[in-house]
Symmetry: C2
Subunit: 136 residues, 2 copies
């Protein structure tokens, strides 16, 4: 039931950027603060950029900043974008359902559905703002 390191790292980076008030900060600096390996962080920021969560500027004094208001960045969405559905099994995923040969009559499906509901309810009602302001 682990969150992948990719998701954890992405959130660390967003939190870091959220505390910079739109001032640019370089990948290297983010890496120092978040303890995420530089090259891996690079890939993650790229992915966050494609999804509009961050913006970048190249060249001297370039770097990254948030691309959205922290109140508009929903943690559940970030996780989904970076590491796939929140649901513990594809057969109960709403955002990216996968059929399963057992399916009907599967006694586990209702349980996984409950797990998904609990996780989604939590992460879809938490924003980056909530984390930064320690509302949670």
């Amino acid at each position: 039931m682990k969150v992948s390191s990719k998701g954890e790292y992405a959130l660390r980076a967003l939190i870091c950027l959220g505390g910079m008030h739109s001032k640019l900060i370089s990948i290297e600096k983010i890496s120092e603060k978040t303890l995420v390996p530089v090259h891996y962080l690079e890939q993650i920021l790229l992915q966050l950029k494609r999804n509009g969560y961050v913006q970048s500027k190249r060249g001297v004094n370039g770097g990254y900043k948030l691309g959205k208001n922290p109140k508009e960045i929903i943690i559940g969405d970030v996780i989904r974008n970076l590491e796939g559905p929140l649901a513990p099994m594809g057969c109960v995923s709403i955002t990216s359902y996968e059929s399963c040969p057992l399916e009907e009559g599967c006694l586990l499906k209702p349980l996984w559905a409950l797990v998904r509901d609990k996780i989604a309810e939590l992460l879809d009602n938490t924003t980056l703002y909530d984390l930064i302001e320690r509302k949670i």
Copy 2:
């Protein structure tokens, strides 16, 4: 946030055994019913045996059966035994805590702790009996 296939497969096997009323059933039969690859299932059953969840009998007409009453088999424990802690991150795991260099001041920890609580509350209050009798 996935459950590993190991955990899913183990639960499928236990559900299958739970419906046999202590009659022995071979790995191959279990594999047919649960669609779990035979050789992988073998390893999983071995692990379940070490933890007392199942019993085996060798030789002709041998096979597996449950080692405990379905009401005593807690889903959360099965998952923990097979794929490790329920917590999404080691830093919030109660059963197998791992320290993290960020730790104090980490804004994510409280969130992960909530996730852990929700998952654990659900899976630790569900037994194999509940699944088999469709109480959930």
